[in-house]
Structures are given as C-alpha cells and as structure tokens.
C-alpha cells in the first residue's frame, strides 16, 4: 500500500487464530455463571475488535471518516455515532480525540486508507486494538448494575442512547457507551479486564448475571 506519510505500518494482529482475549483465562474458569432464563443482566465480551484512536482537527478527520465509513465524526462532546449495521462506531473522547471501533481484521486496512486520505494533514492514528477489550451489558438490570459501579449518572434522561463517556468504574477507569436503548458497552483496558469482569460478576450476582459467549 502506498503511504504518502513516512509512517511505517505493520499489521500487529495479522493472524487472529493465534490471538487470545485478555479475558480468556477468567472466562474459562468454572465459576463464571452462564446466562439463564432468570438472568436480568447478560454480559458478553466482544474480543478482537479493531480499536483505532484518531487525533487531529475535527474537520479533516470528519471528511476522511465520512468518505471511508459513511459515518459522521461526532462533533459534540460525549457523542457516539454508529453506522447502519451497528458494527462500526466512532466516539468523541476529547476535543481532538476519537475512538473508532470496527470489526476485527478491518482496522489495519482502514488505518492505511485513512492515512492516505488525510495525506499531510496534522493528525495521529494509533491502533490500540491489543490494549483494550469491549464488554457488553444487556438486560433490564444493566442500568442498576452500572449505578453501583460508575460515578457517572446513567439515568436515561442524562445518558440517552448515542452517548459515551470516559469515567471512573469500580476503582479503575472505563469508556462507557450506550449504542442503543437496551445495550451498554464498556471499553476496558487489557490489564484491568479481569478485574472489571470480576467486579461485574460480583456486583451483578443479585441480578443473576450470566455470561454469554
């Protein structure tokens, strides 16, 4: 791939068959509860997604992202936009920083194409796919579980679908997002993934939390 900038790119996860989720060990333990009929919260890990951090000016990045993915870069703070399939999303992280999540395997090509589109504009793209993982919470008690875990106000009036924030979760931090009315997503750091999972299982016990694989 021709690359107008002098940045060297390499596919850090060319072979996904060798990849291991940060939760592989925890999930393989016997005491992880399975989701059942009485589960009021269901937890799912979505491992091996492509996570890219985009930094730079909103206008140039918006143009490049719209041309590549057909979705707008959220310009407002705490914005989260998804494409029609719901598979690809962009979230506002700070005034010059966005998190782009795409299905696993797409991130390397996409990074190259974005770099080509952006040319010599002032920007940075970092592939952080290996550094974080995504947990999904679904179910009627998902919000109650979050109320016990994050300091941020998750009331529907304050946290409608299409919003995402970085906030304090348990004793660590997380990117908390709400792609739809029924679903919440937590983007957690790799090294804290095990802790976050255990916290969620512990806090979710009273709602008969179950893990779906």
């Amino acid at each position: 791939m021709s690359n107008p900038s002098s940045v060297n790119l390499f596919d850090s996860r060319a072979d996904l068959s060798m990849a291991e989720s940060p939760l592989a060990f925890s999930m393989s333990r016997r005491n992880v509860p399975a989701a059942g009929a009485d589960s009021r919260v269901v937890l799912r890990e979505r491992p091996f997604l492509g996570h890219l951090i985009l930094r730079g000016g909103a206008i140039v990045l918006d143009e490049a992202v719209r041309e590549e993915l057909g979705i707008n870069l959220p310009g407002r703070p705490q914005g989260l936009t998804l494409d029609a399939s719901g598979e690809r999303s962009i979230q506002w992280l700070s005034p010059d920083e966005w998190l782009l999540i795409v299905p696993g395997g797409e991130e390397f090509d996409l990074e190259g194409r974005l770099r080509q589109r952006l040319g010599d504009a002032s920007f940075a793209i970092v592939n952080v796919s290996g550094g974080q993982t995504l947990l999904e919470l679904e179910g009627e008690a998902a919000r109650e579980l979050l109320m016990k875990s994050v300091v941020y106000d998750v009331h529907p009036d304050h946290f409608p679908a299409g919003k995402g924030v970085t906030t304090v979760f348990a004793k660590t931090s997380t990117i908390l997002r709400r792609p739809s009315d029924t679903r919440w997503e937590l983007v957690v750091r790799r090294s804290f993934a095990d802790y976050c999972l255990r916290w969620l299982l512990d806090a979710g016990e009273e709602y008969a939390i179950g893990v779906e694989t």
Partner: protein, 121 residues
Amino acid sequence: MFLIYCPYCQELREEPEFHAKGQAHIARPQDPEACSDEEWGDYLFFRDNPRGIHHELWVHAIGCRKFFNITRDTVSYEILETYPMGEQPRITADRVAVDGTGREPGRTTSETSAQQKGVRA
C-alpha cells in the same frame, strides 16, 4: 462530593475524575538565560497560598484528559468558575475586593450565576 464543570466536556462531572495540578497562570520567563537566580527560583518553586480567591490548574484525568483552570475560594472551597486554557478568569481577588461578591459592576445576579458554571457543589 463536588460536581465540576469541565469546559471541554461541557457538562458537570464528578470530582473523582479530576486532579488538581497547582497554581494556574504561571508564565515561564521569556528568556530563562537572562533570569537572575531569584527570578528563576520564584518561577520554579514559589507558589501563592492565598486566603480567598485562588486560580488553579486542574486536569480532567479520567475523562477528556485536558487541562483547564478553576477559580476557587480557599476558605469555603466553593468553585466560582471553570475556564479553558488560554483564557483569563472573570472572577479575581481584585474584583471581589471591590464589591465583596465577585460580580462585575452592572451585572444582575442571574447573569452572574449563569456564568459561574462550576459552582454546584
């Protein structure tokens, strides 16, 4: 717990997301080589410790990770305003000394409270 208005996230956020980073508006000397030891020492080590209005640098550490400024009352701990980097405070010790409220002359109370977005505690 305080709710602090982050000027970049544009909403009130919980205090545990923030860290204080000391006094704000400390300008690095234009020509450090030309500084006397005393001037350089003042710049590097000496900080104000006022009773009353103080301008501080804070960072939204678990959030947008941007630095911004807070005008705070060190007696009541009240946060009077928050404003982004590169801006000057609207509320200063001088202004408070004049009329005792920090309000600019000719401003109504509602205007002032709308301005002081970081206040809710």
